[in-house]
Symmetry: C2
Subunit: 984 residues, 2 copies
């Protein structure tokens, strides 16, 4: 029933209420209104929210209400937020950076900007674990993979990693694992980007790998190293811009049994012999220059490609082609058994959230430009770089590198005293070059450079020597291409139809829209994914991010040019500390898993600083997310599992026993709070005390922080460090599988160890661990989203959100409890912000699996909850505060009706092998089968419209149930070719 | 087959090509690439485009190639366009205007901004003439109508008019017609907005109405006028801000048999007694303050509501509820027989394109805020206005009006010499007030005003008298509401569920997305609507329009604050003159029909200036669009129809005879070129000569200008004036039925007569006709779109576009000619940019109507072409240049296959009353009917997937065929109420 609230003619309002803004955010963010909140409380038997909270959150860990008030964090209205963001944006200098090192001025095709990056149909969906309602972005990610394999000439590529530096670290670890974890030397060429090296050093630590930085040819030739080499990393072209031939190197490395890892640049590869053709085993890099803004460091999609024989060791998500139950081609996540959520501490990596949205943008960029377009862009960038070189060499400067694609390292000494003058002239012209040393300056050109930019670049060099500016007519192009002839690309790129037919904007728009139409997102209905917190991603928080003031800043630009960003970062860190009760934060980690790894590395560094570097045991409950054990291993820890009681809570006795047993080596304990079963455990503080008493530190996995804000916090629970998933609790949209941000907050004693970064000027803490991501502040542009979210809710709005998240979940548990087995609740009968229902009984009774319920939910227009995690027979349901009572009731009614459909199967009214659940989902092409092929013992209407409201509004799966096994057996991870399409 | 274009390693490019931009627009805008163009030419038997053009466009009217070259209009790349637009944007002052008079600072809810205004799913569809694929925006427009009827308390409202001033003109004419066209006096109260008065004066002329501006009570009391009064117009609240009680007036006017027309403000009506409760017959106004940016004058949706007894005389589109073939509720355009396209010169108005997109935004704003939210906004605006009044009265200023909603007319004389000082202080504070006279200043508050703005406003007044600024704590609120108690609203507003349940952003987003998902647009497939030119609406041209630099400018802001806009306007006018061959332009008309009316009024003024004001005959071919005769009548002309020959071209002999017969009174001839049959008539110059020889002027309807650019133009054809539909030829998106822009260009002798406007400062031409739209330059913000379109294509790109538009149409004609009767072509066998096929034979053979083919096209995922216009048995098909060969072939294959389906009906393989065409379209709920209800002699697959590609991509109609007659018989034009919904 609608909420009709008519009012009599108002008497005068007080002045204070006239001054209060009307476009306040909490009312828009939180689904249920006061009326609905009251209704839910009443249904649960409470007079007021206080009583409900008292029953839900253990009193021992309750924090003072004033910890999260509108005084702590003052709320801004939506228009105040815009004004603030605008004014901070103007504090970022509008300089143009030609610094390179993996970051460029991107030209985002407007059709992609508006229809992908700024489109909630693309940015609100979750990771495509439900392929039947995700064929759009699965296809787009396959385009990404195909783009990467074609440009690199490798066999197989994944659907993105977090950034180039962490991708290189993954490559290093793959090389190490490939060599049986025995050879411990990894050679990093001197031409590798410094930020990549920093991240490699951090990562090497956990595995005890020796990173040797040296000219790679010399290192490999060094007999003293050969037998220990598990792999090498080269940058192609290298940081100086030079293009080197690594064919011989590859042979030499292979002869030692090592792997060649190559960091490279997709645009350059349209003109260069691809690494796959000269023997690289692993090829990686940043795809951002394919139409993704710099954003002061990200988010960007790193790519990662390997040879066929390495494919089962590859980290990250991989999309493969398979077929659906009717034999129709269908995409899906492939080889999931490699991933941390299955393999846990044996996984090849901890990566979970990656960079799907940005990978999709890059793939769409390739679709839009096609092979000829990409090549034209590359040729222009290269040609203009040549023009720069010739022009400035005419002034006495000298390019150190004669063979290059887009980057020149310029020796200034023939023209001027030191490089300072050049940088000063650049600054005056609103330009940033790379600062190398006092004799050398780096210049990297990109797609954005046109004639005007070109002249500005060149005339920085005239200006530095007080010469008069050149003009366009004086420029000349050298006589030959500056790419060694043996390294010019001969092979074709991107011959697949998808890259060759969407080149008009109309076609591109239709393709984007068509793919979007296949995917369920928050624009359609509740996505009640437990542990994923699929809440509103408000438009207000999304808008500033694509303003040029924020999107165009290079992550290594001089820090005084990024004042707006630094304020946002500082305020976000402060607010996160207030919320968690901790002392300091780092925003570097660009996913939850990366946060775990960073936090554990901080703990290790802390132990080391106290001479306890030997502490290497990490206790982890069996119920923990797969990233926890995988991250622990990466941080060099040994995982010791801790049992859970049948009610889902920690077995404190087991914990005590394990902690004491390992007390000399105990490094850490990882705990998720509320637990992954959706319960606030009473004993959390006791557990933490046990750990502390035995010399360990407590890592609190903050994925469930949405349950806590304002009522408790990780510090009071007893943690020393926690990560947050800003893409859950703090409303960064999931982007169909990323981006994410996984900052960590730490207690005071751990704060000196928070990660440093080579491109942060000024003194850095000598105790700090090295970088954990490529950019100084990780994926800076999307920090804006969480910053805006927190500022617009204000302290009280944050607490109110958590309260309603708890209430929604408990109301749902109440409505479902007579129909499903609620697996865990506390002694007051309360769950936390999510609920776990166990479907094991249906398997026993009628062979109905979790997936059958999940797929049937799709027929009702819902994205299923988290399936088979944290326990295989369960569904974990999290409504969040953003869902209204009406939507929650709609979901509960659906669940109850599916329960009834299951009952018909159990009682034999419907056959066990041919029924509404087993055959779900029912896409339209199945529902329209001819009479003689409709072999179902129910009507098409029962399949399609089991609830009356579906006639008005229903999201349609586009394929029937996808065959997982078939896809893994017949692994194909790129787009169909011309031949395939024409044979269809 | 895909266009695979691999290339060898390029040799060096010349410098000039390195300097050329890569993000050039023509390649993106024009669908077919060179390869496809060559293929189409070859198919038509041509070696080159020149030969094709020679056969297509008559040589007599060809213009010199240099008339449209890249020298004439230099092309900008997409990024250059952005840079230019940004820099022009900064030339508009960021002042805040509190000028009012129907224009306010709107607060656009971000979720509506991004998901409606900036969403091609909403802005690219056409007018919902095909209701089965347009239920989304039909529902939204019904929300708009309901919002208007509820707030005004009137019986019925239409789905928008062009602006408040033209809506008032429509109201005046309705009053005049209602009084049998005998009473010729229309009283306009002195409190009416001056721009409204200007437009009324223009409009009154054509009908010979006497506009009497006078205090309305006095005028009605004046016995000398009473018997002549057809109606009165009041502004409520009036221009001074005063709220007057018109109940007695209404009685008095009704007693004379006249109508009361009331211009009003929707926000005020949440607090004021609605006009429907005190006796108004027609209520109208601008809905823009409901979340639509000012945009320097528009586009905005005017609303228009009437009492039940006037509903069949109401102008504009009206949406009604009806049912589909299965009885399911469905929306559709109602009472179309009132409109110009049916009634032509007998129509009540010429309005065709209206303001659907903006009406949808306003409706969504009401959905988002709901009754309580709207009322709160109003109360705050009113309260703050009271605060201003009290504060400044404390300084010696005096508000002239004691009863007001948001507007104060302030007498400055108690505080300072003249108003100049106040305006000077305002300017210094970046504020504009209304300039009334040297003693009075107008201030109008709006939703955007918060405490900071409030203090700025108040302290302009302190500053003007050199007093020290007030601060917030010194403010006081008066003791009572400043609305007369008899005029306070008692009745409830917007009780319908739709306005009471989408108040969280998540729900709002889902509602917007759900409605969008029901509508076919250019994001899905070709919309080959003849005469509508549904081409690409590029993202680049759409982006600048929502930048605040452009969206926030008040149309009556001092002209020196709008320099950026004025440059855009000047450049657009210049370019349109180049394109048409004419001398001067006016951008005021905000639709094609408004352009016709403006152009004909200019012609009348010209004749008058030469002492030939008696010339009042307008010759119009029978094939003309309905707006032509309707506009002619509005301009005071008598329509004399001219025959067409069987090949669709003008009957020159008939023209000559009619021209000679009427030579003493011949005013004008209206001709569409190429004709509405899609033919370049050879005799166009001869026809124009006949007219000129007989003292008439030629009006060229430029709806088909897309066929001409660069090869011919209206001037060389012999015209004196033409309008253009910028929403056709110049790529403004159709917005689901508007906005549009219909500028006129005129030959030199007509240029002195182009419309003036009361808010253009400086001397205006004394010969000029009065205003034709409320804002000085019409819907200024969207001029940016056409400006960008022209600038990005450049002269050559424009010509190339026209060439490909002609080629696409001719290729289509070629492919269809063996399957359908092509009704008209020239002696070389060529059509122009569109083709007319005649389906009469199918009706004869098997009772198959045009609609049956159209609805079946929906099953193939296409929006049908224009149906039954210009001749009832035909389809008019226009592909435009933006469609690729693949899309055109897909459409042709579809048409050919439908032809085959028709053949099966003709030959009796399928029954005549139950077949694929008669039953079309087939929505999913029909396709899933149980076996015993599927009574069709074909399979569900044949219905749903008649082509294999539909399995991959298909747009689904959401209802089956809509019953037009039922809806008109049972007219319901509001949203369902609570009761109705609960009884469903
Ligand atoms: C409990 C828990 N911990 C850690 C993670 C990992 O976070 P991310 O996917 O951002 O790497 C998740 C993600 O779902 C989670 O649910
Ligand atoms: C030939 C012709 N003239 C005039 C018009 C009226 O234009 P508008 O709808 O912009 O008022 C149209 C609209 O379709 C048309 O096709
Ligand atoms: O809108 C038309 O009537 O063409």
């Amino acid at each position: 029933s609608p909420r009709l609230r008519t009012r009599n003619f108002a008497s005068l309002k007080p002045l204070s209420s006239l001054f209060a803004a009307l476009d306040t955010f909490p009312e828009r963010h939180i689904g249920p209104d006061d009326h609905e909140v009251a209704h839910m409380l009443k249904t649960l038997g409470y007079e007021n929210a206080q009583d409900f909270l008292a029953d839900t959150v253990p009193s021992k860990i309750r924090v003072d209400a004033s910890s999260m008030t509108n005084k702590t964090i003052k709320p801004l209205s939506e228009s105040e937020l815009f004004a603030r963001a605008k004014s901070l944006g103007t504090e970022n200098e509008p300089s143009k950076s030609y610094i390179g090192m993996g970051y460029h001025n991107a030209v985002v095709p407007p059709v992609i900007l508006r229809n992908v990056f700024e489109n909630p149909q693309w940015y609100t969906p979750y990771t495509p674990y439900q392929p039947e309602v995700a064929q759009g972005r699965l296809e787009s990610l396959v385009n990404f993979q195909t783009m990467v394999t074609s440009l690199t000439s490798m066999d197989i590529a994944n659907a993105s990693l977090l950034d180039e530096a962490t991708a290189a670290a993954e490559g290093m670890v793959m090389a190490y694992v490939n060599a049986g974890q025995r050879k411990k030397t990894f050679i990093v060429d001197t031409g590798v980007f410094p930020q990549t090296l920093a991240v490699l050093r951090t990562r090497a630590k956990g595995f005890g790998i020796n990173v040797v930085v040296r000219d790679v040819h010399a290192a490999v030739a060094d007999e003293s190293l050969r037998s220990e080499i598990c792999g090498v990393l080269v940058q192609y072209p290298d940081v100086s811009g030079t293009i080197k031939d690594y064919s011989n190197l590859a042979e030499a490395v292979h002869s030692t049994g090592g792997l060649v890892v190559c960091a490279t640049d997709l645009l350059a590869l349209t003109m260069l012999k691809p690494p796959g053709e000269w023997g690289a085993d692993i090829v990686l890099g940043n795809s951002a220059r394919f139409g993704v803004p710099a954003g002061y460091g990200g988010p960007h999609a790193a790519f990662f490609a390997v040879t066929d024989k390495l494919k089962r060791k590859m980290p990250g998500r991989l999309i493969g082609r398979s077929r659906d139950a009717t034999g129709k081609p269908a995409y899906r996540l492939a080889l999931q058994t490699r991933e941390q959520h299955i393999r846990r501490e044996k996984a090849t990596s901890n990566i979970c959230t990656s960079q799907a949205l940005l990978a999709n943008m890059a793939a769409m960029y390739a679709v839009y430009h096609g092979p000829v377009g990409l090549r034209s862009i590359a040729e222009r960038v290269h040609g203009l770089t040549q023009v720069v070189k010739t022009a400035i060499e005419g002034m006495g400067y000298k390019a150190v590198n004669q063979e290059y694609f887009d980057t020149l390292t310029i020796d200034v000494s023939g023209a001027t005293e030191t490089s300072d003058g050049v940088h000063a002239a650049a600054t005056a012209a609103g330009i940033n070059f790379r600062q190398i040393d006092d004799k050398h300056v780096g210049v990297t050109l990109d797609e954005s450079v046109g004639p005007i930019d070109l002249m500005s670049i060149i005339n920085v060099f005239t200006s530095a020597i007080q010469a008069s500016p050149l003009n366009k007519s004086e420029l000349v192009l050298p006589e030959k291409v500056a790419i060694p002839s043996s390294l010019r690309r001969q092979s074709e790129i991107l011959p697949h139809p998808v890259f060759n037919k969407h080149h008009s904007e109309t076609e591109m728009l239709r393709y984007i829209n068509h793919l979007a139409s296949k995917d369920i997102g928050l624009v359609h209905s509740m996505i009640p994914l437990g542990s994923c917190t699929m809440k509103l991603n408000s438009t207000s928080s999304m808008i500033p991010l694509t303003w040029p003031e924020f999107s165009s800043v290079h992550p290594f630009a001089p820090i005084e040019q990024a004042k707006g960003y630094l304020t946002v970062i500082q305020e976000l860190e402060d607010d996160l500390c207030k919320i968690t009760g901790f002392h300091a934060a780092s925003l570097q980690p660009n996913s939850g898993a990366a946060g775990e790894y960073a936090g554990l590395s901080v703990i290790r560094a802390y132990h080391e600083s106290r001479g306890e570097g030997h502490r290497d045991i990490c206790l982890i409950p069996l119920s923990a997310h797969g990233t926890n054990p995988a991250s622990a291993v990466m941080a060099g820890l040994k995982v010791v599992p801790v049992k859970a009681l049948t009610d889902g809570s920690l077995d404190l006795a087991d914990l005590q026993a394990k902690a004491e047993k390992h007390k000399d080596n105990l490094a850490a304990f990882m705990i998720t709070y509320p637990s992954t079963f959706g319960v606030f455990e009473d004993g959390v503080q006791d557990a933490c005390k046990i750990i502390h008493d035995n010399g360990g530190q407590v890592y609190l996995d903050g994925a469930n922080l949405n349950a806590q804000i304002g009522f408790t916090n990780p510090a009071i629970c007893g943690g020393d460090v926690c990560h947050m998933n800003l893409h859950k609790t703090f409303a960064i949209p999931h982007g169909g599988g990323g981006p994410g941000v996984g900052p960590i907050c730490v207690a005071k004693h751990l704060s000196p160890f928070l990660p440093r970064h080579p491109f942060l000027p000024g003194p850095q803490n000598s105790k700090a661990i090295d970088a954990v991501s490529a950019a100084p502040f990780g994926s800076s542009s999307i920090h804006l989203i969480s910053w805006a979210y927190i500022k617009m809710l204000g302290g009280q709005g944050l607490a109110e959100s958590s309260k309603v998240a708890l209430l929604n979940a408990n109301y749902m548990a109440h409505r479902l409890r007579d129909h499903y087995s609620l697996r865990y609740k506390n002694s007051n009968g309360r769950v936390a912000h999510e609920l776990l229902i166990d479907l094991a009984e249906f398997d026993q009774a009628a062979g109905l699996k979790v997936a059958d319920f999940a797929k049937r939910l799709q027929d009702y227009g819902f994205h299923p909850p988290t399936c088979s995690w944290p326990t295989p027979t369960c569904m974990l349901i999290e409504p969040t505060e953003s869902e209204t009572l009406e939507e929650i009731d709609r979901f509960c009614d659906t669940m109850i009706q599916i329960r009834q459909e299951a009952e018909d199967i159990i009682t034999g009214k419907q056959p066990k092998d041919n029924n509404l659940l087993k055959n779900a989902p029912h896409p339209i092409h199945v529902l329209t089968l001819p009479e003689d092929q409709w072999n179902c013992p129910y009507t098409r209407e029962q399949a399609a419209y089991p609830m009356p409201w579906l006639l008005e509004k229903k999201f349609w799966p586009t394929v029937s149930r996808v065959d997982d096994a078939y896809g893994d057996l017949n692994l194909i991870c790129d787009c169909p070719s011309v031949e395939e399409l024409s044979s269809q």
